[in-house]
């Protein structure tokens, strides 16, 4: 039986569209697990920790980012609870004094300068404005990295948070009537 040409064309077009829209986003990203099974929710609710308790500013105003092991060891030198995740963390990192190799969702490329203190202290932005509800999650989601560019998927935006592309920065600055020249970020 000979298949009509228009059906072949439509089938091919549908397959291409499906691959482009549905398959491609799965293929382009490489998924890697975080080194530690960390719960922001537990730390916020049980320990009463605020974002800036761990993600603090240094004395000179620079942002320390992900806390170093010393910060974690301050509380977790010995187990505080009974969870397997905490035990694994202490055995795997605290006791051997080994820094966890965290995969930073919001890591900007090297050619971008971003000042946290300007946005948080001067602009009064909440952490959630850029990072979504990460601080309320019970489990760290896997880190997804673009196989070609090496960028985090979060830069492009996820369901949880909007993106951190240049256009997103410019849009926000436009909405707030702020300047947005090249040298603000590309110094």
């Amino acid at each position: 039986m000979r298949i009509p040409g228009y059906l072949v064309f439509c089938g091919g077009a549908l397959a291409a569209l499906g691959a482009g829209w549905a398959g491609f986003p799965h293929v382009i990203y490489e998924t890697r697990p975080q080194p530690v099974d960390f719960s922001h929710k537990v730390h916020a609710e049980k320990a009463g920790a605020k974002c800036e308790d761990c993600h603090s500013f240094r004395d000179d105003g620079t942002f320390a980012g992900v806390p170093a092991l010393d910060k974690c060891s301050g509380c977790h030198a010995a187990p505080m609870g009974t969870t397997q995740a905490e035990k694994n963390f202490i055995d795997g990192y605290v006791t051997p004094n080994r820094e966890p190799q965290w995969l930073v969702y919001a890591r900007q490329p090297e050619n971008v300068y971003f000042s946290h203190i300007t946005h948080v202290k001067l602009g009064g932005l909440k952490c959630e404005a850029c990072h979504g509800d990460e601080g309320a999650t019970d489990k760290l989601r896997p880190y997804q990295q673009d196989r070609i560019s090496g960028y985090s998927r979060d830069i492009w935006g996820t369901k949880a948070a909007k993106g951190m592309k240049m256009d997103d920065c410019v849009d926000c600055h436009r909405q707030h009537g702020l300047e947005h020249s090249c040298l603000d970020c590309h110094k």
Partner: protein, 592 residues
């Protein structure tokens, strides 16, 4: 086409190129602060460095510093990029050079000399050279003549400053100190063309090129009230000013004092003029040098090239590791013995004396070098600052002081420490520490603490004494400049040097492309001429021509510029050009 895939692939591929090998990446690590002093010019400004890990990423001034006041010039701000300069020397025949110097010392005849040329005198390394030359048979320590007879300048004691061609506001003294004192004096700039200093001066007197001497003599005649070598009328004719302008200027100097006259080392007439204005001993003062150990004082005296007979230098070692006064090679070359002289240049690149030396040895550059800065020309008191390296020196670098000391059979590796101990022993002055901005009398410090503080960013400043005039000004001893010019008709143009004379190109390779490559900055061997001057010389835009001076000739390419005054040829102060121009610069441009 109708899915995100191809578009995303295009973007991703572009972003991928950012991560290719060879793309520079900013350092990551702990952010630290370290203090040092800038070694790029004799000002030796205090520097606060921001480091990421061990990598300096930004340099800035130290605001509370008593002399530099937190200011750094553009070259100093970008100094941390210099170790990566593409023209840096990475290796050199150090053993062969040491052997050649040792042979030259052994074979040195009674009328021959072993010489060291120091481009920045007054450092501890300079004392090492002087000691080494005293220890070597027929050793001579050569240096450039100091401006204003070696006097230091106290700008804050002056109310009127007449500058005859001195770039007061663009790199002459300590930038922060000059700017801090600027509000207290009226600046009169006498110069043939509108330099940045002329543009920022309170009064710009546009004198004819090469007529600074006539202006000084005319003013001297008016202030002395008796006839001198030039009458005011003759001075007016030579300078292109009116007689009234010169009279008004003399009145300004006499009545709006204390008045100070600044001039380069090519204008000794400024010294008697300063005696007449009362600056000599008030704003032009003698300054004691920072103490040195007693055992160092048996050292060779500083000597000008004029005192060295032609054809007498068997071996010449040139310390070009720090930018300083560049002495034209055509002044040096006649002093060398005709048969196989040994010339060793210790330099950061081959672009300076390395072009003429048999051996060019690589030297560390700021901020990886160790050394010290003597007091700047505008420092009223003696000072001692150490260049603490911010990054480790590149492997294979030659320490000029170590090389010269070892040629003389000395060990000078602890010279800096010995000097610091001598200063501490003298018990004078205060130590200003950069990290806490505190001044502590030296008497209250232990030697170990004094040394430690100097290495962590500190400046010793001598106790201020009563201003005194320099003991003497021996002009004859410093006549290292070329002979007097021929008739103006023979060499009708005056050479105006642009850029940073003496730096020999030691400018960050990453300074803006506008500065490095645009037509706003003359390239090497390019000369700018006013269209009228160019027509008189028979050259036009882009012409290949020859720049002829008393010291030699160099091929150039002509650029026409209406902003260049008639009678002036503007050239980049590259070593090639300095070799034939020097401080005294008249020239002719002719079609090649």
């Amino acid at each position: 086409m109708f899915t995100p895939a191809p578009w995303r692939l295009i973007t991703d591929t572009a972003l991928w190129s950012e991560n290719w090998p060879g793309i520079p990446r900013p350092a990551r690590g702990e952010i630290k602060t370290r203090y040092t002093n800038c070694a790029l010019c004799p000002a030796g400004c205090a520097v606060r460095a921001r480091l990421v890990g061990e990598q300096p990423v930004a340099l800035m001034g130290v605001p509370a510093h008593p002399l530099s006041f937190g200011a750094l010039c553009p070259f100093g701000l970008t100094g941390h990029q210099l170790p990566y300069h593409p023209e840096r020397l990475k290796q050199g025949p150090a053993h062969e050079a040491a052997e050649a110097v040792a042979n030259a010392i052994a074979q040195c005849g009674p009328n021959e000399r072993i010489a060291v040329l120091d481009l920045r005198p007054g450092r501890t390394a300079s004392w090492t050279y002087r000691r080494a030359m005293a220890a070597v048979k027929n050793g001579v320590y050569l240096t450039a003549p100091p401006p204003l007879g070696g006097a230091s300048v106290n700008l804050s004691a002056a109310r009127t400053v007449l500058s005859i061609g001195v770039p007061v506001l663009e790199g002459w003294g300590t930038p922060g100190n000059v700017l801090a004192a600027r509000a207290g004096f009226r600046l009169i700039q006498a110069e043939p063309f509108e330099s940045r200093t002329a543009a920022l001066a309170d009064l710009w007197l546009r004198i004819k090129p090469g007529s600074g001497r006539a202006l000084a003599l005319g003013l001297t005649a008016l202030l002395e009230g008796k006839a001198g070598p030039l009458t005011p009328a003759q001075a007016a004719a030579e300078t292109g000013l009116s007689e009234n302008q010169i009279t008004d200027l003399a009145r300004d100097l006499a009545h709006n004092g204390p008045a100070l006259v600044l001039a380069g080392d090519d204008l000794p007439e400024a010294v008697p003029l300063n005696r007449l204005t009362g600056a000599w001993g008030e704003s032009l003062i003698a300054r004691a040098e920072a103490p040195v150990p007693e055992s160092w004082k048996k050292a060779a005296p500083p000597t000008g090239f004029a005192s060295v007979p032609d054809g007498s230098i068997r071996a010449l070692i040139i310390d070009e590791s720090v930018p300083g006064d560049y002495i034209p090679w055509n002044v040096i070359a006649p002093k060398l013995v005709p048969d196989n002289p040994v010339v060793v240049a210790i330099a950061w690149s081959r672009n300076g004396y390395g072009r003429h030396a048999q051996f060019t040895l690589p030297a560390a550059v700021y901020p990886e070098m160790t050394g010290d800065a003597p007091a700047a020309i505008d420092s009223p008191a003696a000072a001692f600052r150490i260049f603490t390296p911010l990054v480790p020196a590149t492997a294979g670098m030659v320490d000029p002081a170590g090389f010269i000391a070892s040629a003389a059979g000395m060990n000078a590796s602890a010279a800096l420490r010995e000097r610091a101990d001598a200063i501490h022993k003298a018990g004078r002055g205060t130590l200003f520490t950069y990290a806490d901005a505190k001044s502590t009398p030296v008497k209250e410090l232990k030697p170990e603490d004094f040394w430690k503080a100097l290495n962590q960013g500190g400046c010793w400043m001598d106790a201020p004494g009563k201003p005194a005039a320099p003991v003497k000004y021996d002009e004859a001893a410093w006549q290292g400049k070329p002979p007097a010019p021929q008739e103006a008709s023979d060499l009708p143009l005056v050479v105006a040097l642009t850029g940073m004379p003496g730096a020999a190109g030691l400018v960050s390779p990453l300074m803006s492309k506008l500065y490095q490559e645009s037509n706003l900055r003359l390239g090497r061997n390019r000369a700018a001429l006013n269209p009228a001057s160019a027509a008189a010389c028979g050259v036009g835009e882009g012409s290949r021509a020859v720049l002829q001076t008393l010291l030699g000739r160099r091929p150039i390419q002509v650029t026409l510029s209406a902003s260049t005054p008639p009678g002036v040829v503007e050239v980049e102060a590259s070593p090639d050009i300095l070799d034939i121009c020097g401080a005294f610069s008249r020239a002719r441009v002719a079609q090649s």
